[in-house]
């Protein structure tokens, strides 16, 4: 198959933009990055199937039809993304309600150990009491 350049470029841009947002701290931004990535993946899947007439038997010649299988995968992915978006939004809201912001926080324990590492200390869990 010969790839469609427009798709190739859009996929790249959607992935780049999505990743850029994903690497941020605000959960709503991360979520939007995920949505962009989702769109990018969908187009990537679409790229793997032939374009053509809608795959409706009778409305078009079978040979001219677009490949239906990527469409099925994408449909599933779109709907799953919807569910995930709803969940993440609820999560963002709860995060805001609990913390007063929707920022992704660093793990406290990990930070503690990083401080120990920076100050060249041990784990402090030796049995000495």
């Amino acid at each position: 198959m010969t790839p469609n350049l427009v798709y190739v470029v859009i996929v790249g841009v959607l992935f780049a933009a999505g990743v850029a947002m994903l690497l941020e701290r605000s959960l709503t931004r991360v979520l939007m990055g995920m949505i962009l990535l989702g769109n990018g993946v969908n187009l990537l899947i679409l790229l793997g199937g032939k374009a053509g007439a809608p795959p409706i038997v009778g409305a078009a010649n079978e040979a001219d039809m677009a490949d239906p299988l990527p469409q099925i995968m994408i449909l599933t992915a779109i709907v799953i993304t919807l569910g995930m978006t709803a969940f993440l939004l609820a999560l963002a809201y709860r995060s805001w309600a609990v913390d007063g912001h929707d920022e992704v926080q660093d793990d406290v324990e990990d930070r503690r150990i990083m401080r120990l590492a920076e100050t060249d200390q041990g784990s402090g869990t030796e049995d000495d009491r």
Binding site: T2, P3, L5, V8, V9, V11, V13, L14, F15, A16, A17, G18, V19, M21, E24, R25, T28, L36, N39, N42, L43, G48, G49, A51, P55, I56, V57, E62, M65, P68, L69, Q71, I72, I74, L75, T76, I78, V79, I80, T81, L82, G83, A86, A90, A92, Y93, R94, W96, A97, G100, H101, E103, D106, D110, M114, L116, G122, S123, E126, D128
Partner: protein, 931 residues
């Protein structure tokens, strides 16, 4: 033999129960268990083997084999074990809550030790080996309140396990090379490749177990264990395991180059250092512990030297040491129990108060010192004889023996002597139950000495496994060098004792103490752990994601380079309209990534989604476009519902410093993904399987819309999974927003309130009234609502032949509800859909999955569909696929999802916000503010 092991296991399990019911006397009963092992050995002096399958694939079976050396060990393990258990009955106070546990672990240990000496399969041997380590750990920590005791237990555990693991690696090398793990078979065939490495690794295990230099330090620390346990584990049995292994494997492995130098050197050093350290101890138990270390070194030298005579001496000393050292520990136990101290500086005049005990101890020390006619003498004589022609080793042995005599005397003097300027220590007479077991062991030492020739005969088969000069066990070898040396040793030892008594200070050895090494190693591991963890576990989500993406980029780039792909061809587009839509998508995405305000970003992401929907249309995917438009719309509504509560702008970025890194990762990810897509598409040769879809879709699926038929029939299993995802997502939204059962119950009560009846102009037929609700929107919403729902049903049923289907239909119906909610808030929503979302979701899932299960019940495959064609009078031809039922389930689930979203993110957030605004009842948020 297996029966003995099982008996031990059983006894260990019932010991706590038994002790709870009949008290300390139960120990006498339990002592019969190890005694039975010794008894079995007495009855079966020859070679006995038995094999039971366990894990044949790993060549690890319960292969047991008794031979001369195991036989002797069995006698020690069983005999001493029985005696010590009997001793424990009086040693522990009645009703000691820890006794049940102690007895269980003790018996477990005895069983493991028995198994260890009987194992023919090396892997099985390792199994028992590790078990003894664990039981030892638990016994050392019998009184775990002191940090020192716990640390000692840990030290013993770590050191012996480390050695054990090395040994395991050695076993695997041997076993893999030889093609079998049965020692009896390995020993009879030529050594496989890698045996030298194996030998070194095995020695690491053996020497660490026997506390030989440089692993000696754990044993003195292990004296935190109750004294009977020390007597058994750390004198008689467990520490002998390493020596036993050297003795067992030596006949075959001693030919490897490292074997003899390592064993002899390490043994000799241990002998001297241990003896030296023992001289400096004040705690009687520690004195004995260092003495044990020293003696283990001696044994290692004996078994490691690799000659018949030395091995014979080794066996004799092994037995002798077990007897006299266990005796001495039991004696210390008695003293400790009766006086409350083990410090020889606090003890005085005990010899007069406990003469019998003093005699017993004297007997044991004499054996240790090599005084005829005791077992120790027999062994040591033979040993001197074996090394007659090796002056260097002989000198070390002599020095060690001299030290042994010295600390032996120090022990006797320290325990029993009446010291000037000290009161006689107050103590009751030791009861027979305590002194008896010690006496038994001491007398056994005497018996062995006297019965040396018999022992010699019994051990001949073992000794013959070795090469070199043969020695003999006898009380009298004739006048020769050995006897002379014995005399020298006794005199030298006495001399040192006297000198020390007169004030000679024994300087502390300046060799690096291995204990320090252990501490440093563990501290280094701890530091390494902190450093590595601090470097790899940053606890930051962007870091975790960045790591994953970097791997993606590197992996993608590498494989792309490896693929050596030459661009074959490229098309710009299928239709130029794709470019138009593409520009919109790209622009929206790029600007969204830079947006500072949440809603702006959201709108741009939405535009991007609409653009993708247009691309779907252009691609020939109307079903996708339809769904995408609907999903984007629902998404925007959801975002608005949540974002209305959140700050308008994204918060200030704490990540500014890493901005360029993130940009680079983003661009690289995009580029690599594009390239991979390009390469993958270009690489396609075969025809896709989906060319086979259209025909069967009509013939068997009963629909013309291939995508929909695939969704509800050909790939309905995927769809079933997908709707489960939706169900759970909806549930999760409720879970996060409502949190508590009570809140959800309140909601249920609210939503079942019937819609207001009767038009009432004054109250308004609309529930509206708040300033942000619009009459125009409300009227239009109500006018359109049923039409939209009808349209959703149309989409549901037309979907089989045209764009549409359960997903699209459900989303449309959900949006109808959304419009009602937007118009009139949650009360309007409840009026429109007075039903619990969970019920809708459950019903939908039941219908969809039930359709699949029904096909199963009907004798088809799961989710198999049937076509129904009926011609009804007046009405016409009805064509129906049962998969439509499945689609109804899908429809309901999507409706349920949207309903749940509206109730939770819409209505409940309204309520929470209103409550927070108006009431002085503190909400959760306000409480947080105060904190």
């Amino acid at each position: 033999m297996l029966a003995i092991l099982l008996l031990h296991a059983l006894a260990a399990l019932i010991a706590p129960v038994l002790i709870r019911f009949i008290g300390n006397r139960a120990l006498y009963l339990l002592a019969l268990v190890p005694a039975s092992a010794a008894g079995w050995a007495v009855l079966n002096p020859g070679s006995v083997a038995a094999t039971y399958r366990w894990v044949p694939h790993l060549d690890m079976d319960l292969a047991l084999r008794s031979g001369p050396l195991p036989w002797l060990m069995l006698l020690i393990v069983g005999g001493v074990g029985a005696v010590v258990l009997a001793y424990c009955a009086s040693y522990f106070p009645p009703g000691d809550p820890g006794l049940g546990r102690f007895a269980a672990v003790f018996l477990g240990f005895a069983g493991a030790m028995t198994g260890l000496v009987l194992s023919d399969d090396l892997l099985l041997l390792y199994v028992f080996w590790e078990l003894t380590t664990v039981f030892s750990y638990l016994l050392i920590g019998h009184k775990p309140e002191q940090a020192a005791g716990r640390r000692a237990a840990m030290q013993a555990l770590v050191v012996t396990t480390a050695g054990g693991l090395a040994m395991l690696a050695g076993f695997v090398i041997l076993g893999h090379g030889a093609g079998t793990y049965r020692w009896s078979e390995i020993a009879e065939s030529p050594l496989p490749a890698g045996s030298t490495t194996a030998a070194v690794l095995i020695l690491a295990g053996a020497l660490s177990k026997s506390a030989v230099f440089p692993f000696s330090f754990w044993l003195p620390a292990a004296m935190a264990a109750p004294t009977p346990a020390s007597a058994y584990l750390h004198a008689a049995s467990m520490v002998k395991a390493g020596v036993f292994l050297v003795g067992l494997l030596g006949p075959a492995l001693a030919v490897t180059p490292a074997w003899q130098p390592v064993t002899v050197a390490a043994g000799a050093v241990t002998l001297l250092l241990g003896g030296w350290a023992a001289l400096r101890q004040h705690d009687l138990k520690l004195l004995l512990a260092y003495g044990t270390v020293s003696q283990l070194g001696l044994l290692t030298v004996a078994f490691g030297a690799g000659s018949r005579a030395a091995a014979l001496a080794g066996v004799a000393l092994l037995l002798a040491h077990a007897l006299f050292k266990a005796t001495l520990f039991l004696v210390v136990g008695v003293v400790d129990k009766l006086t409350g101290t083990r410090d020889l500086r606090e003890l005085s005049g005990l010899g007069r108060r406990m003469p019998a005990l003093a005699v017993v101890a004297g007997l044991a020390v004499a054996s240790m010192a090599g005084v005829p006619p005791l077992a120790g003498f027999v062994g040591k004589e033979t040993l001197f004889a074996a090394f007659e022609h090796d002056p260097l080793i002989l000198a070390a042995l002599l020095a060690g023996s001299v030290l042994t005599v010295a600390y032996g005397l120090r022990f006797l003097w320290g325990t029993f002597a009446t010291k000037p300027a000290m009161d006689t220590t107050a103590a009751p007479r030791p009861p027979l139950a305590l002194a008896g077991p010690a006496a038994v062991l001491a007398l056994a030492g005497l018996a062995v000495g006297v019965g040396a020739p018999a022992l010699d005969r019994a051990l001949t088969p073992y000794v013959n496994l070795w090469t070199g000069t043969t020695g003999h066990l006898a009380l009298w070898h004739g006048l020769g060098l050995p006897v002379l040396l014995s005399v020298v040793v006794l005199l030298g030892g006495a001399g040192i004792f006297v000198a020390q008594h007169r004030g000679l200070r024994v300087p502390e050895q300046r060799l690096p103490t291995a204990d320090g090494v252990y501490r440093r190693v563990m501290a280094a591991i701890d530091r390494a752990a902190v450093e590595v963890t601090g470097a790899t576990q940053r606890g930051s989500l962007p870091f975790s994601l960045g790591a994953i993406l970097l791997v993606l980029v590197m992996m993608g780039a590498t494989t792309l380079l490896l693929s050596g792909f030459r661009p074959g061809g490229i098309r710009l587009w299928d239709t130029p309209l794709q470019l138009v839509a593409g520009v919109v998508v790209v622009a929206a995405a790029l600007i969204a990534a830079r947006a500072r305000r949440r809603l702006t970003a959201m709108i741009l992401v939405g535009v991007c989604g609409y653009g993708v929907a247009v691309l779907f249309v252009l691609h020939g995917a109307p079903d996708l476009a339809l769904t995408q438009f609907l999903v984007e719309t629902v998404t925007i509504v959801m975002f608005v519902l949540v974002l209305r509560r959140l700050p308008r702008r994204f918060s200030e970025r704490p990540l500014r410093g890493t901005r360029w890194i993130r940009m680079a990762v983003a661009v690289a990810t995009g580029a690599v993904t594009s390239a991979m897509a390009y390469v993958a598409v270009s690489g396609r040769l075969a025809v896709p399987v989906s060319v086979g879809f259209p025909g069967p879709a009509v013939a068997f699926g009963g629909g013309h819309n291939v995508v929909n038929v695939a969704l509800v029939d050909i790939r309905a299993w995927d769809t079933m999974g997908e709707i489960s995802v939706l169900v759970v997502a909806a549930t999760g939204v409720a879970s996060l927003i409502y949190q508590r059962s009570a809140a959800l119950q309140r909601r249920r009560a609210e939503q079942t309130v019937p819609a207001r009846t009767g038009p009432s102009r004054q109250a308004g037929w609309l529930l509206a009234g708040e300033s942000h609700e619009s009459i125009i929107l409300q009227v239009v919403a109500r006018l359109l609502f049923h039409t939209i729902v009808l349209f959703s049903v149309y989409l549901l049923f037309s979907g089989h032949n045209a764009p549409g289907g359960g997903f699209a239909g459900g989303l449309v119906a959900g949006l109808a509800l959304t419009i009602r909610y937007l118009a009139g808030g949650r009360r309007e929503l409840n009026a429109a859909a007075p039903v619990d979302a969970g019920l809708v979701l459950g019903t939908g899932l039941l219908i969809a999955v039930g359709t699949g299960a029904a096909a199963l019940v009907a004798g088809g495959q799961v989710l198999q569909s049937a076509l129904v064609d009926v011609t009804l009078p007046l009405i016409g031809h009805v064509h129906f696929a049962t998969s439509a039922c499945f689609d109804v389930g899908v429809y309901l689930i999507v409706v349920g999802l949207v309903l749940e979203i509206l109730r939770s993110l819409g209505g409940e957030l309204d309520r929470q916000h209103a409550a927070a605004e108006t009431s002085d009842a503190p909400t959760e948020r306000r409480e947080k503010e105060l904190v």
